[in-house]
Symmetry: C5
Subunit: 230 residues, 5 copies
């Protein structure tokens, strides 16, 4: 058996080493290539390459996994389920664990960020807005996912039921008031913004309470941002 | 006839086994490769590969289907209609059923989720928002698709006509008040958010009715999210 | 001349039949491959393949068209203009007609859907919203495209000028009140939602007119959805 | 020197004619292939193909340019900068001019479309909306780009400074009131909608002025659409 | 050792020069190809090509880097992490620096642009809107990223703490009032718009202050745009 092995996987040609193919003892590739009994069951194509009757394109990732012992798929990889089928066929349990673990560690789902905001006005009124003023950033979604994304910055004190992490809650909020930091946290954890909507408040027939800044009151709005992880 | 068959499909080379090609008796491939009569009608290219005058790229999925007897296309696959044409050519009715069944089981369409919400304020007023408060999550769309996505969480009691599943309704709502759960349900069923819009309410010349929290009333808003499945 | 023809199109190798190449008498391929005069002008590469000095990748669709006599491009195909150039080079007028006809039949453009909506409240007030209430779905865009998408469900009675189909109108509305049905119609015709925005209404200093439900009045909103076909 | 030339560009094989390679006298390809002095500096691969130590994939577009003397890239082509590097290497100034000219003629940038709208109500009030009513479509962005997109339909009369085309303005509006026509113009010029947002107006403590339709006044809203060209 | 080297990288064939492979002395490729000791450790495939047991597809960018000594990846390249692994394997520190530097120079993150706007009305009232009127464009996000994008056009005077560039701020605004210029700046720096939302203001029970234009006041709105760089 030569050290360099030429493979024909469903018509796509790969070249690798025997060492790479034998890297994991539990796999079908080890069964096939470890000894003469296995190799004898392998057919060869007309150029003498060992033949595997599987999808040729996806074998690229099977081989990469064997070389590096780690799963590193392209961003936005779209053949995850097809790849899983290939890993199952080759009994590559370490790779299957990675594919599934990747999904378990980063389960798909949705988190909503909402904030009630207005503006701090200076003494010169409207033209002199000092800055954006947020009273609180609300976080809604599945408990476990909110915790994964926001960690220590998550305030759970309003959530009466410190129950199962699989339930949904709309009672979390953040300890800080920077929505951009919240967005960055979500982005770092693989969420993308899927939608956003805003609404103002209604005026009131009643006079505002004493001490409430009328102008600030008028500008109250609620902006809501939906994030999804595929 | 060798066990390993080299194919030239429109210029793209595939390698597979005779077994795979004969896997389904009703197909054109079975007709062509099962016996000498069929094989004699097959031309060969200059390297002796059996030649099929069809699209070379799509044959990848034809072969995958024959190997696994299951349809597993890449996420976001964009040549479904072209693939259907190939499956028709090869008389691969099992695969055609899968392509069509896939579409029937997950028909394209649109579902709208809307909610009327406000905030529960604590006794310290504006700065002390307790949590988001939703009165009800409305679900609009085709009856069958709404049922498929929301199952038992769908409340149909307001929908007077328990008629045909193909009609549209705007009278469904959910039994729970977590929009994130609704979004997750939609996402799990292959819908993606296509748009979102929000609006506040108008103030009223009349005094609010006794017992209504003025502040909560001012923050009433309606947010609407449109989901589409391609 | 063998029945199976091996082609080298700009370095990409295709295999097809003479029959396929001669399928359409008006084409350059027929000129080249029908008789010895044409074939003698054709150069061959070092492996004896007939050589065509054109883009190798796009020839896939030229060949598919000759095989099936129908144009079936991938969804979201992004080389339409490049393909048109190739079809022109090969004098494949039937294919050119398809490419252009495809564009004429489904011209790119934009349609806006807007609706004025509120909610039907039950006797228990806010908490007892019965359902979404739409007064009318407005359709704006080019007359011909609106008709193509909405057909019989389009009400043109408010449009005073039943003039040319190329003019724009903002006076169409639908005969039904299901925006999801409108979205489905648009989606079926190749439009995708590009944007969405909502707005509420202003309160009024005047008392609402007798018989108008105050709460329903407050929740009036206008949601607008822009659809584009590329 | 044979008329048909087989090339190995960084490992990707192309076949073309000597004629195509010599099409432009100022290029490195002409230097290399025009006479024996150039050709002698060219290495050959083991199969006798002329070898060029450059990116093999991008050479497809270099060759297409030489064949057609025109630049036609796929829609959404994402290797423009990489291609420019290749054109520079091959001293293909005509192609470089096209790549740069393409960018100069269609510079990236953003245009915002906003409109203030309401509805024309019939005599039966709310349920009898006649049509969408726009008072004016505002156009904001860089002067030159607004002019390129909207041409004669652009009204510049409110823009006091008819100065440099590189400055930004928010004082343009359109001569017509069809936002769909504006969207179509933008779409035709390669812009896509990147965002959209709407807002209603506030009620007023004062009674509306005589002659103002109260209902129409309440429905006033401002919708804004941001378009970007990459 | 011939000047032209044929490589088999995991089954994908590349052709390059010895010169290109030896371009950087610190790399594994230099170790392997510089002298006979290294070359003797290299296996060859059945066609005599030097064999490297690594991903064949990504080697395209490794080779491009060696040829041009510069990193130029396709726009929207999605295998950056996989490429980094390859660069690490080949000890191509110059390339690793580029990949990392590229990320450090353009760190992912989010910037929010908000503006409070209304319209300048002419003496003929509503129908005679002069132009959009923005009082101030607010910029929120991480200090360093805001500075990178907006440079001299950023006004930091309201930000009391001229502290670390890693903190978030919501107190920056722009020195000009053209949101399109802000969008262009963001777009030029690789940010894309991820969401947008608008809200109007509430009416007030009090009469507007003398000198305030009532109509302009009613149209006040806050539009917010979220930009993300991946």
């Amino acid at each position: 058996m030569p050290e360099i092995v030429e493979l024909n996987v469903g018509g796509v040609h790969y070249t690798t080493t025997l060492n790479t193919l034998l890297q994991d003892k539990s796999t079908l590739l080890h069964e096939l290539f470890a000894g003469p009994e296995g190799r004898d069951t392998l057919a060869k194509d007309s150029k003498g390459r060992y033949f595997l009757d599987r999808d040729g394109v996806l074998f690229r990732y099977i081989l990469d996994f064997l070389r590096d012992k780690a799963l590193q798929l392209p961003e936005g990889f779209r053949e995850r389920q097809r790849l899983q089928r290939e890993a199952e066929h080759f009994k590559l349990t370490a790779m299957l664990d990675c594919i599934r673990g990747d999904r378990d560690a980063r389960p798909p789902g949705c988190i909503t960020i909402g904030y009630r905001g207005s503006f701090q006005f200076g003494k010169d009124g409207l033209a002199d807005v000092k800055f954006r003023k947020l009273s609180r950033i609300l976080v809604c979604g599945r408990v476990a996912q909110c915790r994964e994304v926001f960690g220590d910055t998550l305030n759970e004190s309003r959530d009466p039921d410190h129950g199962g992490p699989d339930r949904y809650t709309s009672r979390f909020f953040l300890k800080h008031c920077f929505i951009e930091q919240a967005f960055d946290n979500l982005h770092d954890h693989g969420y993308r913004m899927a939608g956003s909507c805003g609404s103002g408040t209604a005026g009131s027939a009643a006079e505002p309470k004493p001490g409430v800044d009328t102008e600030e009151n008028r500008w109250n709005h609620y902006n809501e941002f939906v994030f999804i992880r595929d």
